[in-house]
Symmetry: C2
Subunit: 321 residues, 2 copies
């Protein structure tokens, strides 16, 4: 499979979905959101899921465009809810076009995500998968917002939240690819399960990079999660392990209403280092990646087809941004 | 068909869709939105569309629940965009639960609207219809917001806007009912077209009732459209017909940044009366209703099946709220 060429077809379809439509007030913000870029990870997973089961790549293009459109709809609405002023270094849609337009452009992108699916085969199964996944993503985002107000989030609750908010859409991408290749039902369920493990690993890695990544490579100032008191695996683990003076210092920084952001990031990072949080988080992340890869390696498909997907994830594990 | 009993089944399904789901922070606002009530016009149209073509009513229940869930999702997001503090006499969802929760609850309701469809037959056709319609509804809402900033909206533009914002979902409801009855394709297209005419008539009637309705029967203070300078058929027609001093007075009231709402409503209503706007609007409304009913009367189905739908619309035309 020529991944680059297939991704180009996905981009064409994405552009096409939003082109020549009126009113401009609705579609310009949607096109802006799609233009901001990103790794196009989910379309790649759809294509790889299709390839894995020997599907015809053209059948996977609409599903690949659909998940990317859907993902960007969630980012657009999340940025409003999180009051996030930028996305990948550019002004967020709500900052650039206003909140009302951002809500509505997100809505239409969600509906276009379903509409694109009608351009390919297996509409029923694909739409059902995207719907079920979409409901879980909303639930995950609500949990994430609920957790902001709590200091007693457990590791288990956190893992459940990122499973819903992030992992299921990555898993659904692989599953949708497999569906477009008419994979057997039990193999489709296996690849979905693998995707959930890999997706949780991916989010844990995101959490690690947000604190310990190279800000130039990541493309944004690191430490954002610390500044926002996000209940990531790192913070929850630190709260679990810290004792005495260290715990007091950590709580002081979390609860301070007024603080110097750089100082806060430096202090919390120092505690993370003391408690070897990075190692613990990396180990957990690796566990999830390993569990996901193990399932893929045991799938009932020719081994050279697995290699591409395994290599893809191994590269992802090495990512620095 | 026992419409009352079927509607009760729709209500049960609607409650069921949102029950026993977590997190509560997401589903309580959705249930609140559905509980606010309303005429359940769209589910009735689905059921009537199914009956018209001799379908089995159970097949239409999921589609009926789906369009009502979808409709309430649009109301929920519209209330945020329009900054509307109340809905049917109760606090809007965004006022009661906050804007972020309102955005997300709307999103999940939209996905549940699709998910409910999987509980019945003809998923592919129904989901395609709802998707296409949903895109048009978003476009209509954007046009409505765009028109707020303009004083030169033409009657034609206005009719196009209400067709997209309101009429297509009513039309899609009839169409989805027909689909669940496996109606022939050309009859499905006819009933959709009839629904568009009837839907435009319905919105024109809404505009008339907003100004000339009995506030007790309508359940809200009348004149809201006048206060908000909404470019309704009535205002556009008045701007078209008013000359000299009358036009100056009308423009003065539209452009005044500070005003006494009661005084503004009284003054604009007086101009409407002078220009016989109510008659003109009622005539236009009746034209649309007649065109819609004409199509229904010519459908290739047993005449006693048409009677229920015709009676339903004739009752709707008489409505006072």
């Amino acid at each position: 499979m020529d991944l680059i060429q297939s991704l180009a077809s996905v981009e064409l379809l994405l552009t096409d979905c939003l082109a020549n439509r009126e009113p401009q007030g609705l579609y310009k913000p949607s096109a802006y959101a799609m233009d901001v870029g990103g790794k196009r990870l989910r379309p790649q997973l759809v294509l790889l899921g299709n390839y894995l089961f020997g599907g015809s790549v053209e059948d996977a293009i609409p599903a690949a465009a659909s998940v990317e459109m859907f993902h960007n709809f969630t980012l657009l609405h999340d940025d409003i809810m999180d009051n996030a002023p930028t996305r990948r270094g550019k002004a967020s849609v709500w900052v650039e076009f206003g909140t009302n337009t951002a809500i509505l452009s997100g809505d239409v992108m969600m509906m276009i995500a379903f509409s694109v699916l009608t351009k390919g085969p297996s509409f029923h199964q694909l739409a059902q998968c995207l719907t079920e996944c979409g409901i879980l993503v909303c639930e995950g985002q609500q949990l994430d917002m609920d957790f902001e107000k709590r200091n007693d989030v457990s590791i288990e609750e956190y893992l459940h939240m990122i499973e819903q908010k992030t992992a299921v859409l990555l898993a659904a991408s692989l599953k949708m690819g497999a569906i477009t290749a008419n994979a057997p039902v039990q193999e489709i369920e296996k690849i979905y399960k693998a995707g959930v493990f890999l997706g949780i690993g991916f989010q844990l890695q995101d959490d690690i990079l947000d604190v310990f990544g190279d800000s130039v490579k990541v493309g944004k100032q690191t430490g954002g999660d610390i500044i926002a008191d996000k209940k990531t695996y790192l913070l929850i683990k630190a709260l679990e392990l810290a004792k005495g003076e260290v715990l007091n210092t950590l709580m002081y920084h979390i609860e301070a209403a007024h603080f110097n952001p750089e100082e806060k990031v430096r202090a919390v990072k120092e505690i993370y280092n003391q408690l070897q949080i990075k190692d613990l988080a990396s180990r957990k992340m690796k566990q999830y990646f390993d569990q996901g890869l193990e399932i893929i390696k045991n799938l009932d498909v020719p081994s050279q087809r697995k290699e591409l997907l395994v290599a893809f994830f191994e590269q992802l594990i090495q990512r620095e941004y």
